[in-house]
Subunit: 199 residues, 2 copies
């Protein structure tokens, strides 16, 4: 039963994607087979193309197609600011906000004593190097507000102290957030960082 086998193999591979299980992978594959002209062929080709061309930027760790990514080759981005993120997904989230106009540095994870991740496993030495090479005047730490993220932020701030200004994202009430649903830590952070004369 070779034809069923091809389809079963495809379902098994799809089921390994995050957010898809065996059942939703079956649904997705059936949907693909039904729309093989308009969706499955283009998707297979797009996937092949990205699989062949995608690689990590040698300088910042972002994903691109050349040795350097689009941000690192764009001279307008060389404004002396580097935004440090944990992951490429975080870089994309920052870009969707559309406010930051400088360059990025993707660490590729956070320091973690439990998982034995040290500074040399991340791109922290490369960041220190870049701060010297690229006339950076401010490093913005956009790391997750988790224990590992904040530990990593403190470590990087120590490494860069005296070399450039180091800032981090503000903590407080998210836009659209309701106080009743916020945790105690967020409310106390927002109260401590309250803005006077804001109105």
């Amino acid at each position: 039963m070779s034809s069923q086998q091809d389809i079963e193999d495809l379902i098994d591979l799809m089921a390994r994607l995050p957010g898809l299980g065996p059942r939703s992978a079956r649904r997705a594959v059936l949907h693909l087979i039904k729309k093989r002209g308009r969706l499955m062929h283009p998707l297979a080709q797009a996937m092949q193309q990205v699989a062949e061309s995608a690689r990590e930027c040698l300088r910042c760790g972002n994903i691109g197609t050349g040795d350097l990514c689009d941000f690192c080759t764009d001279e307008r981005r060389a404004n002396g600011e580097i935004c440090v993120v944990e992951d490429v997904a975080d870089l994309w989230a920052m870009e969707r906000a559309g406010v930051f106009k400088g360059r990025y540095h993707v660490l590729g994870g956070t320091l973690s004593a439990l998982d034995a991740v040290g500074p040399e496993d991340l791109r922290i030495p490369a960041l220190v190097q870049r701060v010297g090479d690229e006339q950076v005047h401010e490093v913005i730490l956009a790391l997750n507000a988790t224990v590992d993220g904040q530990t990593t932020a403190h470590y990087i701030a120590d490494e860069l102290s005296g070399r450039c200004e180091v800032s981090s994202l503000a903590q407080g009430v998210p836009i659209g957030g309701e106080l009743d649903y916020l945790d105690d830590g967020t409310i106390s952070a927002a109260l401590n960082a309250r803005k006077r004369n804001a109105f």
Copy 2:
């Protein structure tokens, strides 16, 4: 920014799969790029292969790679029983149960006055034809227990009356089901179809 564009295109295509939205498509694509050797290349190839080879069986409507699907070419399946299902997903569900040993007939939908789906839009004439050609003695209607499914079942039963025996799946309490969580319709169907001397 052509390299980003390739990745964006892939995300857009992935987001058109059922069960994936823009956010989960981004996560899936990032996961794929991280595992491009072990997952993305094989997935792209498997997808290409199925996209090129998959097509509908001319006889029963199942998905296979030839003119006839694996069930229709397997002579051991020619036991005079045909199981009628709405969709290929339902056929797969029946096969997972592993109890039915005959052949299938995939309607490709249900009769629906609202959506203007008539008998000629489904494979109902082909089913009547098969019952004559293949010495079928029983047609098992495994259609969904919805209004459209049951309407279709009644229509097919009328069409086949006098030609062969027509049966349908039993209705009742699902295995592992708790009475407290079942709807009234299921409970009354189970009570009406109660088995005497079952123990």
